[in-house]
Amino acid sequence: MNRFEYIRPATIAEAVAAAAAPGAAYLAGGTNLIDLLKGGIVRPERVVDVTRLPGLDAIETLADGSVRIGALVRNADLAHDPDFAHRFPAVVEALLSGASAQLRNAATVGGNLLQRTRCAYFYDVASACNKRTPGAGCAARGGDTRLAAVLGWSEHCIATHPSDFCVPLVALDAVVEIVGTAGSRDVPLESLHRLPGDTPARESVLEPGELIVAVRLPADAASFAAHARYLKLRERTSYAFAVVSAAAALRIEHGAIVAARIALGSVAPKPWRAHAAEAVLTGAHPDRAAFRRAAEAALADATPSGDNGFRIELSRRVVARALARAAAGTPARLPALPASPFAPAPGGLHA
């Protein structure tokens, strides 16, 4: 870890001013930043601790029916808020499928959105990485590409965005509230992360010093609550990042789909909304054939970034299965293994 200056501002204005300086980084729960600092993957000169900023830890319903989640709300507190869980079950399923109980107690909403990729070469400072060192090259290309992107990638970077939380949020049209030195602005979550192009080190549209203060879900997002699921394929059942994940939300009236929302996780440099797949489902009967057509549409633009063509068909199957689960209805209580494709043996005490 490099030595840095530690600052703990008391107001948002102070925080933004302190973080606008070159080489500054915000610290929230620290579960990603401290890890990256320890590995020497990031080397900020100044760490701006936002955890004491007032007014950023509330979950509120606004006059227009939208829900505003403060950037400092801890992942666990959001997941365990009964009213929020009732209205946005897929968001909660995604949250509870991520990391561990300890990490969710520390991780914040803002930090989850801006967590960095888990590309192994990004983490290994001995490997070339355009994200860490612009222009250095990309060791992942031609390397181990099993978990690399199949959508949205460029020849300069094939890394994925690993967040679970972002996947249902982007499906439900979440909006990110940002404050910077020039004032505040709203950015749709779908536009928060940038595609790598030839500048993979620029991961989001945030300007230096810009702070995420809240995430808003529009009033209409709760109308999917009866048919909303998150499905996460992992290499072990819990405490693992996704290989591929999908959020699916449907509004079904008189046996037909009147609105569909679909997004994929861990297959692209950002949470990936599948608009074309949603259009396929509008007006359709919720059955296997329709879900497969939607899955084909969701992956229509996918191309392997290496020896990872299997991820495309895997993603189609995860989308189709997430849709089938959503159509079957949101369970009254989340399953014991949130978002898992596997069902536990009831009452089993297996080791």
């Binding site: 530690y6 703990r8 620290g30 579960t31 601790d49 561990s100 109980a101 990490l103 059942t237 005490l349």
Partner: protein, 165 residues
């Protein structure tokens, strides 16, 4: 740069002068406060050996900057027993063979105490296992750990049990 922070550690108020802001809560406990019960396994949030309660919630001390914990109350494995009386979770780990080498055990126990406070699992062993997935055990004592937690939960719920921790 020097920085002074106040913590309550196992109920005792501590003022700590930090000469370096890089110190994690884990290193503060182990290297500066001589509380070595909290273990360092991976130091990267991947094993749970460093689990402590921060203001009553379980977290990984290895990924918490000590400076950022200023003003908080920390409970470690050293603060769990009341004198010679073990906390019910500690006693249950012994009764159910919830350990073998013991390295992961302080983290497992603190995590279990946090889990019981969260009160999300009920008596479903699968939910207990899922809620404990942030604690790895190299010896594979998981079966005993799950049983110990379910047993401790029953004891703590018993009407004659007035428990503070």
């Amino acid at each position: 740069m020097s920085l002074s922070i106040s913590l309550s550690v196992n109920g005792v108020a501590r003022e700590v002068a930090l000469d370096d802001p890089r110190v994690t809560l884990l290193d503060l406990l182990r290297e500066r406060l001589d509380l070595t019960g909290t273990k360092k396994g991976c130091d990267r949030g991947q094993c749970g050996a460093c689990t402590v309660l921060l203001d009553g919630r379980r977290i990984n001390a290895c990924l918490a900057l000590a400076a950022s914990c200023d003003g908080a109350a920390v409970l470690t494995i050293e603060g769990l027993a009341q004198g010679d009386t073990l906390h019910p979770v500690q006693a249950a780990f012994i009764a159910h063979d919830g350990l073998q080498c013991g390295f992961c055990t302080p983290g497992q126990i603190m995590s279990a105490v946090g889990l019981l406070r969260e009160a999300q699992t009920g008596d479903d062993p699968e939910r207990v296992r899922e809620a404990m997935s942030g604690n790895l055990c190299r010896c594979g004592a998981y079966a005993g750990i799950t049983e110990a937690i379910l047993d401790a939960q029953r004891q703590l719920a018993a009407p004659d049990h007035a428990e503070a921790a």
